[in-house]
């Protein structure tokens, strides 16, 4: 005899685990011996039992769970915000105050539930009842809701009115005190489920929490649960870890090395183009430029990747290798990169050409690879794909890095490059304001076409530029 059987048609909704836990706390509070101390609430002549003060609740939580007062206040606040306990003095403000302000428990029918979310129809009935009771004097946002619902569920609006009237008549059959309690309960329920604008909606679940797997908390811990936990912990232990002292050291080193090169941290010479409108910085650091800046050349000494990554550095390194008669290494590496990032249709062709040029015995630009890697690569060439040359490429890369690269850094070529590198002068700040360069918005990048175009294209470019300029202006 379970409720699950009843959910055949609709989706299986589970009560959120935090709500189940709160319910258990509430039930624990009801114990006549160990529970919260109850008082009576006096309203003129009616006496309504089962009221508690905020301080009693906080004290009970401290004793039951052995927690600090701050935590107990926070927990109590959560319980009040979710509507399990509601305040009697100031019902609009769902906050737990640790003084003698009165509170009361909410009836289980009105407990917050994800299994039984508050329905529009019920809210419409509540608003209609309130309308009757208060003779049309609803709060602003309630009026809006009311009109909205009238449009939304217009087809059952007659039922709403009928049911509202009947519910009020049914309530009349009860005792005075009970009627007041029921009204307070309903009001508290709707304050939590349809909060006024600006108040936090506790039932709002972000998109990531919709996963039913995470909401299915296991309350009864059986064998399966513990088995799964053990497996999870085993896998977690097997993960590779780096000591934080080591990785933080590396991090510090990296930052120390690169800080002078960072234009935001250390400023950039000649000047920041975004501020002074002077584009010298970009033109001096263009990919291909005759005299590189000093900072750039210094950066080539940091690691091999920097050198190869910079187009100018790459060219210089190639020049150096040609002098040393080991340029085929770099060419091989470049060819492998082309293969890796090239077109799918050209792969077989590429692999073949690389083999013919660099790997075949007696090839013109034969590269020196150890026998094991060579065997593996030759094996792979039979079924060529993008990554067949990976092992060989890595071998050659390491060779260059360990052998040629240090020699490059010690070579005269590099030293002359460093000596000839230019430090751009800082833009002079003109003394007289009217002599300073006027700031104006840069022309559209569409007009500034790159200058590496062949002369045949230049006329076309010029024509395009003028047309675009004409269109712009």
């Amino acid at each position: 005899m379970t409720i699950n059987a009843l959910h055949q048609g609709g989706s299986y909704k589970v009560q959120m685990p935090c709500l189940s836990k709160m319910e258990r706390v509430i039930v624990g509070m009801q114990d006549p011996d160990m529970g919260v101390k109850m008082r009576n609430q006096r309203l003129l002549i009616t006496v309504i039992p089962h009221a508690m003060t905020g301080s009693d609740i906080v004290e009970w939580l401290i004793q039951k769970f052995s927690i600090s007062e701050e935590e107990s206040l926070h927990l109590g606040n959560l319980i009040v915000k979710h509507g399990y306990i509601y305040p009697l003095k100031d019902p609009q403000c769902l906050v737990l105050r640790a003084d003698d302000s009165p509170y009361r428990f909410q009836t289980p029918y009105f407990w917050m539930s994800t299994k039984w979310p508050a329905a529009e129809l019920d809210y419409a009935i509540y608003l209609a009842k309130k309308n009757i009771r208060k003779q049309g004097d609803l709060i602003e946002h309630e009026k809006d809701y009311y009109n909205q619902l009238h449009k939304k569920i217009n087809h059952t609006w007659d039922f709403v009115v009928m049911q509202a009237r009947e519910q009020l008549r049914a309530a009349k059959q009860r005792r005075k005190g009970d009627r007041i309690v029921i009204e307070c309960q309903e009001q508290a329920y709707w304050l939590v489920n349809r909060p006024p604008p600006g108040v936090l909606n506790v039932m709002e679940q972000g998109p990531e929490r919709g996963n039913c797997y995470t909401t299915r908390v296991q309350m009864t811990k059986n064998m399966d649960f513990y088995k799964r936990e053990i497996e999870y912990c085993k896998k977690a232990m097997g993960r590779t870890r780096v000591k934080s002292s080591i990785c933080l050291e590396a991090y510090l080193k990296f930052n120390d090395q690169y800080m002078p090169h960072d234009p935001i941290m250390s400023g950039c010479l000649p000047s920041n183009p975004w501020i002074t409108d002077d584009t010298d910085y970009w033109s001096m650091n263009a990919p291909t430029v005759t005299t590189p800046t000093k900072l750039r050349v210094e950066r080539w000494a940091f690691n091999f990747g920097e050198l190869l990554g910079d187009p100018l550095g790459h060219i210089q390194f190639m020049e150096f290798l040609k002098k040393e008669f080991s340029a085929e290494n770099l060419s091989f590496w470049e060819a492998c990169e082309d293969l890796r990032y090239g077109e799918q249709s050209k792969i077989a062709e590429s692999v073949d050409s690389v083999y013919q040029q660099f790997l075949a015995p007696g090839a013109t630009r034969w590269v020196n690879i150890d026998s094991k890697t060579m065997e593996k690569t030759l094996e792979g060439i039979r079924r060529p794909h993008r990554y067949v040359m990976d092992d060989a490429q890595m071998h050659i890369y390491m060779l260059m890095k360990k052998d040629s690269y240090p020699r490059f850094l010690k070579s005269d070529m590099y030293k002359t490059l460093l000596a000839e590198a230019v430090i751009p002068p800082e833009t002079k700040k003109r003394v007289f304001p009217f002599m300073r360069k006027q700031r104006h918005s840069s022309p559209s990048p569409a007009l500034l076409l790159p200058s590496e175009q062949d002369p045949k294209g230049e006329d076309k470019n010029k024509a395009l530029a003028s047309a675009a300029g004409g269109g712009e202006g």
Binding site: W116, Q135, F159, D178, I180
Partner: protein
């Protein structure tokens, strides 16, 4: 003719649904008791009977080819009201089952929630059953025994609703409400203004009733005494 009958039946079902919901509110609280569970059972059965009667009448009326256009529209409106009523009834029954399972009455360790309700729901149940006083005939552990019946009845209602949807073709969105927003305020019958304000007005009214009665009695007693005295004086002097 058929329209009036249908309306009356629907009103009755509406009344019973409202009372049932009112009673389910108290389950699990301090107003909960074996009596309440029995009241729930009886109300539920009455609701079921009314629902079946409603369904039969309305399906007969909707199937009748000789009704005029306005009558048909009216019956469709009543049908929509009826199906909504059944939905609410089904939800309340499901919740009653769940709450009944969570709060069994005869287990001493499980305490009921102290909600502040002290009175009983006998009046509400009497209103639902349209009787003067409720008779309680069930055994001590009706709260457990009843749950099985409740589960079966929920299935029955579910099936009935499914059948209704399949067999009767009334598109809900074509029905327009007769009442405008705020229509409930126009009713000056008993549901109206009397329960304005929470505490003070109601209390004073109740208070006044009793005191008025007392005052009237005292006044009339004094009057009668004065008349007797006057007569005696006249007679003796």
């Amino acid at each position: 003719m058929a329209k009036e009958e249908c309306k009356a039946l629907l009103d009755a079902l509406n009344r019973v649904t409202a009372c049932y919901r009112h009673m389910v509110l108290s389950v699990g609280g301090t107003a909960d008791s074996q009596n309440l569970r029995e009241e729930l059972k009886q109300t539920r059965q009455k609701a079921h009977d009314l629902a079946v009667a409603n369904r039969n009448k309305l399906t007969a009326a909707l199937k009748d080819k000789n009704v005029s256009k306005e009558d048909k529209a009216e019956f469709e409106r009543l049908w929509v009201i009826f199906s909504t009523c059944l939905e609410i009834l089904e939800t309340d029954m499901k919740r009653a089952l769940e709450l009944g399972l969570e709060f069994p009455l005869n287990v001493p360790k499980k305490h009921l929630i102290q909600t502040g309700m002290s009175g009983g729901t006998a009046g509400v149940a009497a209103r639902a059953m349209s009787v003067q006083n409720m008779k309680y005939e069930a055994e001590r552990n009706i709260d457990e025994v009843d749950l099985k019946d409740l589960e079966q009845e929920i299935h029955k209602v579910g099936e009935m609703m499914y059948e209704m949807e399949m067999k009767v073709n009334v598109p809900q969105w074509t029905v327009e409400a007769k009442q405008d927003p705020g229509a409930e305020l126009k009713s000056t019958t008993s549901a109206g203004a009397s329960s304005g304000g929470f505490v003070s007005i109601e209390e004073r009214k109740g208070f006044c009733d009793i005191s008025k009665l007392l005052a009237a009695i005292v006044f009339s007693a004094v009057l009668i005494l004065a008349v007797i005295l006057a007569v005696c004086v006249v007679k003796l002097s």
